[in-house]
Subunit: 364 residues, 2 copies
Amino acid sequence: MSTLTPELSKAKPAQRRRVGKYTTALPTYPRIKAVYTAGGPKEGAGPLGDKLDTIYEDHLLGQRSWEQAESFMLQSAVERCMRKAGVEREAVDMLIAGDLLNQNTGSSFAARSLDLPFIDVFSACATMSQATGLAGILVDGGYAGRIVVAVSSHHDTAERQYRFPTEYGTQRPPTAQWTATGATALLIGDSDERNDDNGTAGEEVAITHVTFGRVIDMGIQDPYNMGGAMAAAAADTIHRHLQDTGRSLSDYDFVATGDLARIGHPVAADLLERRGHKVDDRFTDCALLLYDFGQIGGIAGASGCACSGIVFGAHFYPQMLAGRIRRLLLVATGSLHNKLTYEQGETIPATAHAVAFEVRGAKR
Amino acid sequence: MSTLTPELSKAKPAQRRRVGKYTTALPTYPRIKAVYTAGGPKEGAGPLGDKLDTIYEDHLLGQRSWEQAESFMLQSAVERCMRKAGVEREAVDMLIAGDLLNQNTGSSFAARSLDLPFIDVFSACATMSQATGLAGILVDGGYAGRIVVAVSSHHDTAERQYRFPTEYGTQRPPTAQWTATGATALLIGDSDERNDDNGTAGEEVAITHVTFGRVIDMGIQDPYNMGGAMAAAAADTIHRHLQDTGRSLSDYDFVATGDLARIGHPVAADLLERRGHKVDDRFTDCALLLYDFGQIGGIAGASGCACSGIVFGAHFYPQMLAGRIRRLLLVATGSLHNKLTYEQGETIPATAHAVAFEVRGAKR
C-alpha cells in the first residue's frame, strides 16, 4: 500500500508560523509576481483610470446578463494576469477567488473555464485580503508553487441582489457606497524565483504577515451604512495585528482599510486612537481613493470586492514597485449580511482581514 | 522597526508539500481531536440517528426564522465540539466554516458570537471537505495549532432559497435530493498532542492528503438533478487524487462521495471505470447513507453541507476510531449554481474536494 513519498514521510513538522495570538508570519516571503486590474467606465474615469490594465466601456461586455459580465471579467483577469507574468496555466497550482454574488457564482462560473483547482472564499468586500492572505500562506508552506488570487464585483449585479432592482433608480442616502465594477487578479509565487522582466529593478512585493479577522457586530441595521457597520471590525483587526507584531501604525507607510468610506473611516480612526494608537494621514481607505466624489453624487465612497482589489493593484502596488512605498497593511473590510437577514430585521456583522506587504529584493 | 521575531526570520522555506500535480500531502498528520454532529427530526429518525450528538425536535429550535435556526445549530456545534474536546475557546486559533445560504450567513452570523478569527469558505455541499482540507493544511504548516471546522445546512432555508417557497409543497422528481438539516463541527489539532480521554485507545484519525477540485460543468440545467451535475467533478477529483498519490481505490477501505445520490453515484462509478479504476462496493456515497429511502419519498437521496458532515462525523469517524476503517477518502461534491443563474438558463458547474483520512497512533 503506497503512502507518502519517502521524501515527504521524512518531513519534520513545519516551524510554527504564529506571531502573537492572531497573526501568522510568512518567513519565506511569498512574492506577488504580477497584478492585473480591470474596471468599468466609472472606474476608468476616476483618478486611477490611467493605471488600470483594462477599462471596459459598458457593463455588459457583450454578455447576456450583468452576472455573466462579472464572471467574464474575473475569468479574463485571471487569464491576463498569468499572461502578464509569462506563466502558463499548467504552471499554476491553484485559483483562490471570491465575489459578492449569491453562492459566489462570479468566481465559480469563471473557474469552470480556467481548469485550475479552485478554493472558493467569501468575505464580502474583505475577500481581497482573505484570498491574498490564504494564498500567501499556501505558498509559504510549500502547498502550492503559484496561486492566482482573483476578486470581482459589479455595480449592477450587487445593486439588484442586495438592494432594489437597478431600474428603480433608487435614491441613495449620503452614507451609501457605490459598488465598484471591476476585477483584480494577482499571481503569487514563492520567493526562490526571479522575475527580471516586469520592471521591478530587482525588487518585488512580498507578503509578510496575515491577520484574519473576527466577526464583529456593532448593531447597525442599515445596509446603506456599511462603512459604519464595518468600522469596528477594521479597528479590531488592526489593533490585534499591531499587538501581535509589536509594530505601530507608523511602521507602515500606509495602512489602508477598505471599504469604510467617509462615514466608517473616521470611526475606525477614532476607535484606534481610543486604543492608544497614534493615527495620522497614512491611515487611509480604499473607498476614498477609487472615485472622485463628484462621480458618485455625494455618497460616502466606493465599495465592492473590486474596490480594494483595484486600489491595491492600480494604486499601492505600482508605488511599491517604484520604491515610493516600502510597507503597506491592507485591511479589506466586509459586511456579512444578505438581503434576507436585513429583511428579517437582523443587524449587520462585519469582518476585516489584514495582509502586510513589504518591498524586498527579487533575489534572496 | 520591528520585523519578524528572530526565531521566525531564520525559518527556512517549508518543504514542498505537493504530491503529483494536484495533491497536497500533510506529512505532520494533523489530527481530528473531536467531532460533534447535530441533526433535525428526519436525520434523527434515520439510520444514523443513534450516533448523532444532538437531535433537534423541530426546524426552528426556538428561533424566529429557519435561517436563525441554522446559524444557531452551527454556533452550537462549534461550542459543543470544543467542550467535547475539553478545549477552551482561547486555545483555538481559528474557525473555518461555510454553509449554503446566500453570503454564507449561516456561518457568519454564528461567527459573531464565537470570537474566533474566521475564514469563510464556500463550495456548496463540498464545503465539508474544502474546509477540512484547508484546516489540515494550516495546522500542518504551523499556521494554527487548533482549528474548528464547521458546516451546516437546513432543509427549509435551502428549499426556499434555491427552489420554491417551502409552503408550496412542490412535488419533487425522482432525481431530486433532500437537503439535510444539521451541523457538524470538527476540532483539528496538531499531532504532537495526546488525547487519551475520548475512547480512542491511543489511536486518532489523521488527515494525510488533500486534493482540491476543479470546476466541471456537464451541461446539466436541472436543479433537481444535482447528482447528475456533480458526478463528473467527483470522478475527476478522485482520478487526479489516485494518479498523484499512486494509490488505487482499493487502498481505501471506503471512498465516499457526497452527495451524488442514486442518479449521480452510478455515473461517477462509470466514469471512474472508463478511466481504468476498478470500482467495487467500497465506493459509496454520503447521500445514500443518511436516510432510509422511505423517509424521503422515493427521491434520489440526501444533500446539503450537513449530509457529508453528519455522515463523516456519525458514520465513518466512529468506525475509524473503533478500528473498523483504517483509511477513508471523503470526496464531498458541490453544485455551484444559484437561483438566478438557473433562471438565466445557465448550466450547473460543480466541484469536488478530496480529503484522505487515516487512523494513526495518538503518540508519535
